[in-house]
């Protein structure tokens, strides 16, 4: 199955055609963030019009891929144990995410994390973070 087909079948991609470049970059392991050319700020989650200065000069910009752990929780469910977190990326915004490849006991607020991508059941690849 090629990538375009996987993305086309994902209802969370289909619902927001304007976000398609984000998911195409994610397939290639690149994190894009919406950046406003008018006020210079990044925001999250993406909108085509800047939520701060209201300009429509929002463009995708490749992010550095680093962030710090802002807060987290360990969710334990039958057959699953995972870390839900907010990560503040270097560019500024807080992103909800999962922390992967880490012992929950060794997590601490403020630790430096690196972005990676994980395939979702629906077809797109979602950014996740692991210890840098």
């Amino acid at each position: 199955m090629n990538d375009a087909h996987a993305l086309a079948g994902d209802p969370y991609v289909a619902a927001f055609p304007e976000n398609r470049p984000f998911w195409e970059a994610a397939e290639q392991g690149r994190l894009l963030l919406p950046h406003c050319a008018s006020c210079g700020q990044f925001h999250w989650h993406p909108r085509p019009r800047c939520p701060y200065c209201r300009s429509d000069a929002v463009r995708w910009k490749q992010a550095g891929g680093e962030g710090v752990l802002h807060t987290y929780t360990v969710i334990r469910r039958p057959g699953a144990c995972y870390v839900l977190a907010y990560v503040q990326v270097t560019e500024g915004p807080l992103l909800m995410t999962n922390i992967v490849d880490a012992d929950p006991e060794h997590l601490h607020i403020g630790m430096v994390l690196r972005c990676g991508f994980r395939a979702t059941a629906e077809g797109r690849h979602a950014p996740v973070f692991r210890p840098a």
């Binding site: 619902a15 925001h43 699953a80 979702t120």
Partner: protein
């Protein structure tokens, strides 16, 4: 007594059930409506304004209005999650002041307990068309998980301890022991809370509210009608609502919508936190009570953990009698929506009809406040200040 109250709460009813497998949601709504109207000394024939939220069958006012065969001049289906009914109090008071209606009925009902819903711990299903959905759905967040993250951040920033937050449950349980309808009537200690299983680290099971079937209703009336009825006069003195956005990723996770609705409601009422004799503050999770008490101005930001500790929220013991029905923590959280029960207990306190063991002497000013939807994922907030007139 210069204050002009636009409307009065003449009827308040909390359904006694906590488990109703043999009743429809529509029937529960109607039973709550009858209960609140009977409390006011009115009937369905008097109602000309109807207010409900997404828990009403179909999620709109029309179907329950049809079911109860109401004759309406004014409808309001504002959906703000659990605080919708606090918002409805403000909306109804405004509508009454504008002459849009004179007897406003607000109802809430639902059956999450008998349908086996694990509200806080099941993965939140997020429809694809919601703007944040593509960027939240992959992470399998749960409601308890969201508030667990807030609790951890508060501990990190302010040195709050889970033992301090456990006092929220302890205070609620001290009140619930006197409420024969409360789902949990056990008196808990902080040790009990800290020994309960982890749900979303650092939150434990007893940091969470209960899941109950049931509902409630309120009746707001024009001042001239209020004075013709035999019930104590409980006036709406101040109101505010807001949507607390995520500020497009730049949010302070620890600031609730109460930072907006608290000051605005107090300003409208011409009152301050020190005037409040009783406070109903929505308690879906222990941490949320601490956050809101800070934002409402009962203590400084960051002091919420220390403020709720050592019984400070227990009626007759602490400085701020709070959720004297047992709250969502122990008494009731019908349809996972705690807004209406917050108003109902505030009305009981102002009337002097709370349980004698928890009744606040001379209770003349009460606050009811709460969030709706989920903190961190875009939430609403509403606050109302109520006053007992002689």
């Amino acid at each position: 007594m210069g204050f002009h109250h636009p409307a009065f709460i003449a009827g308040a009813f909390e359904h006694p059930t906590r488990h109703a497998p043999d009743k429809s949601v529509a029937q529960l709504h109607a039973e709550c409506a009858h209960g609140a109207l009977a409390d006011a000394g009115l009937s369905l024939d008097d109602v000309d304004g109807y207010f409900c939220a997404a828990d009403a069958p179909g999620g709109i006012p029309a179907l329950m209005a049809d079911y109860m065969n109401l004759r309406l001049r004014h409808i309001d289906g504002t959906e703000s999650g659990g605080c919708s009914y606090i918002a409805h109090v403000g909306h109804a008071a405004t509508a009454i002041a504008q002459g849009r209606c004179s007897v406003a009925l607000v109802t809430l009902a639902g059956k999450p307990r008998s349908s086996g819903q694990a509200t806080g711990t099941e993965i939140r299903q997020i429809p694809p068309e919601r703007p944040a959905a593509p960027f939240e759905q992959p992470y399998a967040w749960t409601v308890a998980g969201m508030y667990g993250m807030l609790a951890r951040r508060h501990m990190h920033e302010y040195g709050t301890t889970m033992e301090q937050l456990a006092w929220v449950k302890v205070a609620a349980s001290h009140h619930a022991q006197h409420n024969p309808h409360a789902l949990l009537r056990t008196v808990y200690t902080t040790d009990d809370v800290l020994a309960s299983p982890l749900v979303a680290d650092p939150l434990r099971r007893l940091d969470c509210c209960v899941i109950t079937d049931g509902g409630g209703a309120l009746v707001l009336v024009h001042p001239s009608i209020a004075r013709s009825l035999k019930r104590p006069l409980v006036g709406v003195r101040g109101f505010a609502e807001t949507i607390r956005t995520n500020e497009a990723g730049r949010l302070d996770l620890l600031q609730t919508g109460a930072a907006v609705t608290g000051p605005r409601a107090f300003a409208e009422a011409g009152l301050a936190p020190a005037d409040v004799k009783y406070a109903s503050v929505y308690d879906n999770f222990t941490i949320m009570v601490a956050l809101q008490l800070e934002d409402l101005g009962f203590c400084a930001k960051g002091e919420g953990g220390r403020f709720v500790a050592d019984g400070n929220l227990i009626s007759g013991v602490g400085k701020l009698p709070w959720n004297t029905d047992g709250g969502g923590m122990c008494n009731n959280h019908p349809q996972n929506r705690g807004g209406i029960t917050k108003v109902i207990e505030a009305v009981r306190q102002l009337r002097g009809e709370a349980h004698p063991a928890v009744q606040v002497p001379g209770c003349d000013i009460a606050l009811a406040s709460g969030p709706g939807l989920v903190m961190g994922a875009g939430h609403a907030h509403a606050t109302v200040l109520l006053e007992r007139l002689p």
